[in-house]
């Protein structure tokens, strides 16, 4: 039988495991049993001996590394992390979970990127582990966990206030009746059975609530508990004396792992002739006609849209994540710019300048548009860029040419390159690449052949990664 704490280390059972351990002294000592479990696992692939976690701290780091690689490394091999889904490691896993939360709580606090990664990693891990269980077993686990988490039979939706507020779940995803969340089958048939025509109520239940919604709720609640726990630790640490140096060291290591994708994955790993586009300083010569035009400022109508809807996504993606369409992976600004330094010092100034050149200058009569720019960068409707707000809105991907032609026709003055692309960002990537190969060709004295860049990916459209649709706090774009 799987232990609840394998999914939720914050369950009473998980807390018992920590209590048993007593203190964190000797936490970095070798645990032969853990090594044995990892190597014994039949689906485990081991390339090098150092890859085997041999104590709590190493196991903790493996948890984070698994998540980061899974998200960023195109050559990610899950078999190298099979041990993470082995229920026999529960005892060690729980401790490593607490170590991570505490070190992140002490060092980085609840609004940090580290916290976000930890919380998301925990959510993913729970799902991964559930997926490995048999249907029967999985159901049992979800039901049991939910019982613990929900603390009662009927729950009013307001119970999920926090999950709703942090947008971990949406109200529209819940099945509600008289304010109560409908989760189990009898209840469902009691309430809705008579209304359902032409369909079998229990199969309708399976589809609409069944395992999926329950699982979602469980995972999100575990994530929320994790976040709350980190917050708690952080608050306690502020009034306590010295934090344990082991925790601080672990935090350093976590930060290192998070910094890695910036350097090693995604960029420069060479594929075909072109290779992914590196994030780097903006090259204004490679801008497409529409962007050049917008940079000069807008003289007539459509100022707001040109600056907020068009320039903000373009400039930010071109600077931070030019390869978004090909990678087809949605990210947040802070994934590319953890300190938000580039955003504050390069991206916003460029957008503000363009806004200033508009006639009349955009912010003079529409100062609220600054907030809207922040929203398009993914930082919600706030007047300042703050990490804690990131994720409240989505980082908008650049509009496609088609959309621009429709909404901002006066910006589009296509040239030859435009014929080959569908999105201004692809134009930019292609030009950057051409400039680069031309230069290389010059350097080596040979002539360059075709410009075969395929940085236009599948999602070459404004609706690409994780579009959240419109939110009610959506600005009135007049």
């Amino acid at each position: 039988m799987v232990s609840i704490s394998f999914l939720n280390p914050l369950s009473p059972e998980g807390k018992d495991i920590v209590r048993e351990l007593g203190s964190f002294d000797g936490i970095s000592q070798d645990i032969p049993e853990l090594r044995r479990l990892v190597t014994r696992n039949p689906s485990q692939e081991i390339v090098a001996d150092e890859e085997i976690p041999s104590n709590y701290l190493e196991l903790a780091l493996k948890r984070i590394e698994w998540y980061v690689k899974k998200k960023n490394d195109r050559e990610f091999n899950s078999r190298r992390y099979s041990f993470l889904s082995d229920q026999d490691i529960t005892k060690y896993d729980v401790i490593s979970f607490y170590l991570l939360c505490q070190s992140i709580g002490v060092k980085f606090g609840p609004n940090s990127r580290e916290t976000r990664v930890m919380v998301e990693a925990q959510g993913d891990l729970v799902q991964e582990r559930l997926g490995k269980l048999s249907l029967q077993e999985g159901r049992l686990m979800v039901d049991q966990s939910l019982q613990l988490l929900l603390k009662g039979d009927t729950v009013h939706w307001t119970f999920f206030q926090e999950l709703l507020s942090t947008r971990k779940i949406r109200l529209t995803e819940l099945v509600l009746d008289q304010g109560e969340l409908v989760l189990n089958q009898e209840d469902f048939i009691d309430r809705f059975g008579s209304r359902i025509k032409h369909r079998n109520p229990s199969s309708m239940y399976q589809l609409l609530i069944g395992d999926e919604l329950k699982e979602l709720l469980m995972v999100k609640m575990i994530m929320q508990e994790t976040e709350d726990y980190i917050k708690q630790v952080h608050e306690k640490a502020r009034i306590m004396v010295e934090p344990n140096p082991i925790l601080l060291e672990l935090a350093e290591e976590v930060a290192k792992i998070l910094a890695e994708p910036m350097q090693s994955y995604g960029y420069g790993s060479g594929r075909g002739g072109s290779g992914p586009m590196k994030a780097g300083p903006l090259n204004s010569q490679a801008f497409p006609p529409c962007v050049k035009k917008a940079l000069e400022g807008i003289k007539s109508g459509g100022r707001n849209d040109a600056i907020v809807l068009f320039m903000t996504p373009f400039v930010s993606y071109a600077r931070l994540y030019p390869d978004v369409f090909r990678m087809n992976l949605s990210k947040r600004v802070s994934d590319q710019d953890p300190q938000l330094e580039i955003t504050e010092k390069e991206i916003l100034p460029l957008i503000y300048e363009a806004a200033q050149r508009c006639v009349p200058p955009l912010f003079e009569d529409q100062p609220q548009e600054k907030v809207n720019i922040n929203a398009k960068l993914g930082f919600g409707m706030h007047s300042e860029l703050k990490m804690e707000h990131e994720g409240e809105t989505t980082w908008y991907t650049p509009m496609s040419c088609e959309k621009i032609k429709l909404h901002l026709p006066h910006l589009c003055r296509p040239d030859d390159v435009c014929k080959k692309i569908g999105n201004p960002l692809s134009y930019y990537n292609r030009m950057l690449w051409e400039v680069r190969t031309l230069k290389k060709a010059d350097d080596s004295g040979s002539t360059t052949a075709s410009a075969e860049n395929s940085s236009e990916g599948v999602g070459d459209d404004n609706d690409s990664p994780g579009k959240d649709g419109t939110t009610p706090d959506k600005p009135g774009e007049a």
């Binding site: 947008r167 509600l176 009746d177 304010g179 399976q206 009610p472």
Partner: protein, 323 residues
Amino acid sequence: MELKPATPNERRQYYREEWDVKNVPDFIRNTLIQREFGFDHIGRGPNDRYRVFRNSDDLRKFMRVRTPFAAYSSVAFYNNPKRRGGWLKAELVFDVDAKDIPIRSCGCDNVCEICLNQAKDIVMGLLDTLQGDLGLKNINVVYSGRGYHIRVLDDAVMAMDSDVRSQIVKYLVGADVPRSEYSSHGMKYNLEHFTIPFGYPQVFTHRVKQALLNLTLDTEIDDVSKDIKKAVIKHRELLYDDQWGIFRKAIGPVRYARLVKGIASLNLTLVDAKVSIDLKRILRLPSSLHSGVSMKSTLIKNLETFDPFQNAVPKFVYERDDK
């Protein structure tokens, strides 16, 4: 009846002869000392703010003497309303302004009986969802002078932050297209919103129906061509008896998907979301005069029978010479 502004004299007449502090609803009078009040004295927006009244008699005197162009009170409750300090909680409000209904069949430039009626229909739908799906109690409906305010004083929601409120708005107005793909045991199934007779998909179906029945060729909807609109108008009587499947087929599944997506984003403007997520907003004081249109903001006892042109017209309007 013409909806024209009230003169300063008419205002004075209203506050001295017709208005009574007892017409201020209990839910405000009982919490008077925790609320901030705001006034507009010349018709340029409320700039006399941060006012507090110790009791309803103080409020009565103020109104009689100052006969404001417009009067407002906060939806928030404060420990120290004079400085907006110590925020305690706030009513959850929805503002349905007849002038801003996304799909208006009347085409007037201010408000008229037609769009006011349409606003009322919208309010009824929202109330159903607030009480039915969300199970909220203690809900007041106020005629604002140009539409309706729904004011929820249920403690279950009064402390909630803007983010949750914005989710409530989305649920209420049908701003997200419900997913249509569901899976179970590894099999995928297609369930359109109109085949699900409960929960959010049902709310969404109601809102879309309301929109489609009022749609005209001039209604601008994102990504929806004139052709699609023509098809909607041609086939929409199918919706009277909820023949959604046939309707969808007639429009074409791809175009249908585009259509409902467009309506969903239009629905977002059924209520003024900025009002709903603002935790410190001031809102027109029920019983006060909306001087812009010469109507009384009025707490409604029975929405079904409420008629603004019967129940919200101040006496002075009947005495006007040009009537």
